[in-house]
Each structure stands twice: as structure tokens, then as C-alpha cells.
Amino acid sequence: MKNKKILALLLAVLMIVSFAACKKDDGGDATPTPSASVEPVKEWPEIPAGTVLQFWHAMGGANGDALTKVVDKFNTENTLGLTIEATYQGSYGDLHTKLVAALQGGDTPHIAQAYANNIMVYMDSEAIVQLNEYIYDSQVGVEDFEDILQGYREENSNYPDGKFYSLPFNKSTEVLYYNETFFNANNLTVPTTWDELKDVSIMASNILGKPAFGYDSLANLFITWSQQAGSGYTNNNGDVLFNTPEAREALQFFIDGVEAGYFRTAGEDRYMSGPFNDENAVMFIGSTSGSAYIGSDTFEWNAAQMPWGKEKKVIQQGSNMFMVKSNEVEQLATFEFMKFLMAPENTALWAMNSGYLPVRASARELPEYVAFVAAGTNPTKEVGTSYDGSWYIYDPVFKESYSVRQAVDTAVEEAATGVKTVDQAITDAAASLQ
């Protein structure tokens, strides 16, 4: 009898303990921050001085120099005695090949840069660290995590289980570039809506004698404009959501312009910066990260928010950073570096020296960043930081998301060259993905 009582007591204790354990595992969802009081305080290890971490990236040229600057700052300033060894691994494609190879059991880095769809591929190796338990931890976590722009937080937790497996790193967006000299000389106003874009393009094209406006990336044109018109794109099951009247309306708007001769694609020029610099076009929508390739001695250029349709939707581009499993100490150290990269003053420093934008709202208000934007050396920075975090759209995260991009890119290409009607192009693109 007594034994039974003890047993019941033991069972009760066991139940309470396991319930508490369940609570502990419930490490927070994408958006709400769990209150620290519920979670038992986790014991984090000490990071010994002299720890060296490997960081693989795909930042060449000026962006590579900017990254070196930020990494050097970390290496000299961090009080934990950590050293980051940043290694350039070629283009995003090369870096991807190398990561796939390394995850077969080779020398993996502690942290690397990647697109979210590629991170999905790496997750098969079970070597990618789920970051929620770091982000929302009361001791080592990211304070004011909500300060990181909404669109970025959404993309980086758009994995199947809704948890964070990456954090935003090099982020760019699209803006409207325009030839300010031409606009002033001809009394044109910068368009802010689709209708204005059409009117200004017609006027400018009449003066130029050729199409005045182009869109750099045809996939982005489709993704952005169809969502501005109120259509869907895909979800992260890979279901096609773009087979809608709204998407047809958006594409038709562009194709009408191409056929009438006031809109164009980059075509053989690959990027619109070429014809823009040669004054063969006076407006285009392109990535902020391409601003280094724009400019000429013969005219002044400027940038503005892209013209909006029914909704304000703009694509977020660039890639993210993720952590590879190592040991508890090195993972914690890696997280320290991730936090450093996202800290307001560092993401601002990165943005001021590279082709990218700060990942936090508060970084946009830092005095040094405000002064940099005001100096006007790169107009895309002001425009890029004027976009609200909730306007950002992104490619939903699943392994084959790139094939959807390719399909809609082909659809726009086919419609623009007259191979197919808008309706046929979209129907075929949707069918090819089923």
C-alpha cells in the first residue's frame, strides 16, 4: 500500500518534470517572443579565447572589401578573443557546390552565406543549426529581434517547421533608376504609379525615339507586378498561385508597353545599366546592388521608389547566413558573430560600403547612416531604406523555388517576344510546374 503511494507520487513528479521538459522544447515561434520567465535558464558554456571560426562567402570585388572591413572590425573589437577567417568561395553557384561537397563529411565552415532554397538542400545533411533557441534565449539571444525588418524575418523562418535556420545578411531590393538630366530637361516627373509610369514612358519614348523604360529581371517583373496587382505567386509547398486574372493583368500591362514601343526588356544587353548608361533608355527598375555599374560623364542619375500598383510590394533580394553544426562552444561563438553582423552599427557599416541595405529598422536612423544617405553618393540607399519592412516579398522557401523563377522568367520572355500571348504564357508556365 505504502509502495503504491510512493509510486503514485513518483509518477506525479515524473509527469510534472516531463511537462516542464515539453515546455522547454517549445523554443518559440517565428514571431512571438516567449517570455523568459517560463523558460528555465539555460547553462551556456564559456567561450575560450583564441577560438577561430570559418566563414564562407561569395562576396567578390567591392562587396568583398566591404565584408573584410566588417570582419576586421569584429576580429579587433570582440572581447571574447574570437577570430573569424572569412574565405571567398567564388560565385553563389560555386559556393553552393563547395558546401554540398563539404557537407558530405569534409571541412565545413561554421557559418556561410546562402539563399534559403539552397539551405533547404543542406538541411538534408542534418548539419544545419536551428536558431530559435539562440535567438530567443534570455542570455545570448537577440535583443529587440523585432527591429530586424519584417520581410527578412519572414523569409528566414519560412522553412517547413516555421523555425529560423538562417538570418538576413546581404540584402538588396529593387528601385527605379532614372536619368535626372533628361527628366529635368524635358520637364518630366518621376512616376509613382503604374499609370504614371505608362504616361511618362510614352512621353520619354517619343522624345528618345526608342523605348524609355526597361525592367532588369523579367522574373522579378512578374513576381513583383503580379503581387502588386493582387495575385499570389507560390507557397512553400511549391503550389502555383500565379495562374490568376491579376497576374495576367500585370503582365499584359508590360506587354502592351513593349508592343507599343515604350517599354523594353534588357534582352541582349543582359542588364539595363548598359542601355541606361548609353542613354538608350532613361528609366529602369533594377537591383540596388547594381548601382556600382551605373553612371556616365554625360548625365546625372537618381533613384526613386518603384511605381506602385494596387498594393505596395517590392522584392527583397540577396542572401542569408546560416550556421553549420559543430560543438556547443563554437556554435555559441558563431552566433555571437551573427549577432555582430546584424547589430545596428555593423549592418549600417556594411550597407555604407557594399551594394546592400541595413537589415534593421534602427540602423536606418543611426546618425552616421543618416549622414551617409544625406551625402547622396548613392541615391539607391535612401530609396532602399525608405521601403517599409512589410512591403517586402520573397521567394517562398522550398528546394525547387528556383525553377518557379525560371518558369515565370520564360513566360515574360515569351510574351515579350510575341511567341505566346500573355494568357498562354502564364497558363503554360503554371502547367510546367504541376
Binding site: G60, Q89, K98, G274, S289, G318
Partner: protein, 273 residues
């Protein structure tokens, strides 16, 4: 009649030469243009102001001197190793008689059917994971010390040398070793030069393998340096062309000195193969 046909031949040859030389012209003039000039439309054929500074800027972007030394070292050792292994293997497959020779050779030939892209991850696992050679010169060299294609090519050359010579040498009491170096190798000089050059060029141009097995700047090669000029939103073509000119110069010099042998080797290999 004779002069007309000569004129036609010269016109065709000139046109061919222009087509072949155009990329070099474009690269070298491109390396002296500004970014706007190289991407301009209509085409700007000659820079307004010659931009020698492109070379200085290109050299700043990556440690090309270090890369150059590594590339020369890698290409030279690879070439020497390929020549040695090819000579031995080709001799064995063409002259020595042993059981299963033709079957082994067929199996080796069959491996040529596997695209190199498929082997690259397997090679990585072998060299970097199993042998722990990550970030070493040996890792750059090891997978390219033997080539089935060159063995096949050289075996064809060796087969052209009459069997009687081998038998006569045997009657005179010459060893296989001595026969190989005194008769076979000197007779296949052109073929060996061709193989050497092909191997050197392939090694000089190799990109993805060196990228996979190296991490530190001090172990990397020229082809990786050339990637620094491209970003996701564009390419600094003017600097890339300057770097390209620097990288290609040594190969051009080698070609100019050895062009006679290359031509002979290539044309003979073509007929026989």
C-alpha cells in the same frame, strides 16, 4: 588561274585569322577601356583615353603574384606527372604482353564515359575527407596525375612504331626500360609535347577543383582570382579583361615558342585518332 585561287585562299585565311584573333583584340583593348566604354552600344572600338590603371586595379583585387606562382607550380607538376604515368601506361598497353591487358584497357577507356562533374564530389570525399589533404598543394595535383585520355592518345603513337624494332632490340639484349627511353620516347616526342601542352593548359584553366580543395589565399590559383570581378548584379568587364590579359600572357608565350610542335602533334593525333 593560279593567282586567283591563291587570292581566294589568302582571303579565306585572312578572314579565319581575324575571327581567331578577334577575342584577343577585344580582351586587350577591353582591358584599356573604361567600364562605360566596354559596355557601350554602339560599340566603342578603341578607348578614348587608354586606361593603364585597370591593370593596377585588377592586381589589387586579388594577390595575383601568389596565385601565379601556385598556378605555375600546379600546372608544371601536373604535366610532369601526367607525362610519366602516360608513358609507362601507354608502353605497357602497347608493347608488353600480359594477361587481361585488353580487358583492363577497355575498362579504363569505359571510364572516359563518366562526365567529370559526377566524379568531382567523389574525388573531394576521397582527397579532402579520407586523405585529409584539404588546403594542400598535393590535393591540387593528386587527382590529375594520370589521365586515361592521354594514355590512350600515347598508346596510339606507340603502336605506330614498328613491332620489329622492339623485337630487334630484344634480340640485341636491350631491356624494356632501355628500349622505352631510347626508342619509344624519342620517337613520340611530338605526341609527348602535345600531351604536355594539353595537360598544362587544362591545369592552368582548371577552376572548380582548386576552389573545392583550397581555402587559404596562399594555396589558391589564378582562375579563382578572375572570379573576384563578377558580382550578382554585374561584372567589372574592364578589370576582368585586364586580369585575363595578365593570366593568358604566359600561355601565349609558351604557345609562340612551341607552336610548330603543337601543330604537328595535333594534326597527327587527328589523323590517327
Amino acid at each position: 588561274m593560279k593567282t586567283t585561287s591563291k587570292i581566294i585562299i589568302y582571303i579565306l585565311l585572312t578572314a579565319g585569322a581575324i575571327v581567331m584573333l578577334f577575342p584577343f583584340f577585344w580582351m586587350i583593348t577591353g582591358s584599356l577601356k573604361t567600364y562605360n566604354e566596354i559596355t557601350a552600344s554602339p560599340i566603342v572600338w578603341w578607348p578614348k583615353v587608354v586606361q593603364w590603371s585597370n591593370y593596377a586595379r585588377a592586381l589589387e583585387i586579388a594577390p595575383f603574384d601568389k596565385y601565379f606562382v601556385n598556378t605555375v607550380l600546379m600546372a608544371t607538376i601536373n604535366t610532369a606527372a601526367v607525362l610519366i604515368t602516360s608513358i609507362f601506361a601507354a608502353f605497357a598497353f602497347s608493347r608488353l604482353k600480359f594477361k587481361g591487358r585488353d580487358i583492363i584497357f577497355s575498362i579504363l577507356l569505359a571510364t572516359l564515359m563518366i562526365p567529370s562533374q559526377i566524379l568531382i564530389i567523389t574525388n573531394y570525399v576521397t582527397v579532402a575527407v579520407r586523405m585529409h589533404l584539404m588546403d594542400t598543394m598535393l590535393a591540387l595535383i593528386l587527382p590529375y596525375t594520370a589521365s586515361i585520355f592521354y594514355i590512350y592518345l600515347l598508346r596510339e603513337f606507340f603502336n605506330q612504331i614498328p613491332e620489329q624494332l622492339y623485337l630487334a632490340a630484344k634480340v640485341d639484349g636491350t631491356s624494356d626500360w632501355r628500349y622505352l627511353w631510347k626508342i619509344m620516347v624519342p620517337n613520340a616526342k611530338n605526341a609527348l609535347l602535345t600531351i604536355g601542352l594539353f595537360s598544362f593548359i587544362a591545369s592552368w584553366n582548371s577552376y572548380i577543383w582548386p576552389l573545392l580543395v583550397t581555402n587559404s589565399q596562399s594555396k589558391r590559383v589564378l582562375s579563382i582570382g578572375l572570379r573576384y570581378f563578377s558580382g550578382e548584379a554585374g561584372t567589372d568587364y574592364h578589370l576582368l579583361m585586364a586580369a585575363g590579359t595578365i593570366v593568358i600572357m604566359p600561355l601565349l608565350v609558351i604557345y609562340l615558342f612551341l607552336r610548330r610542335y603543337i601543330m604537328e602533334g595535333v594534326s597527327r593525333a587527328g589523323i590517327k585518332g
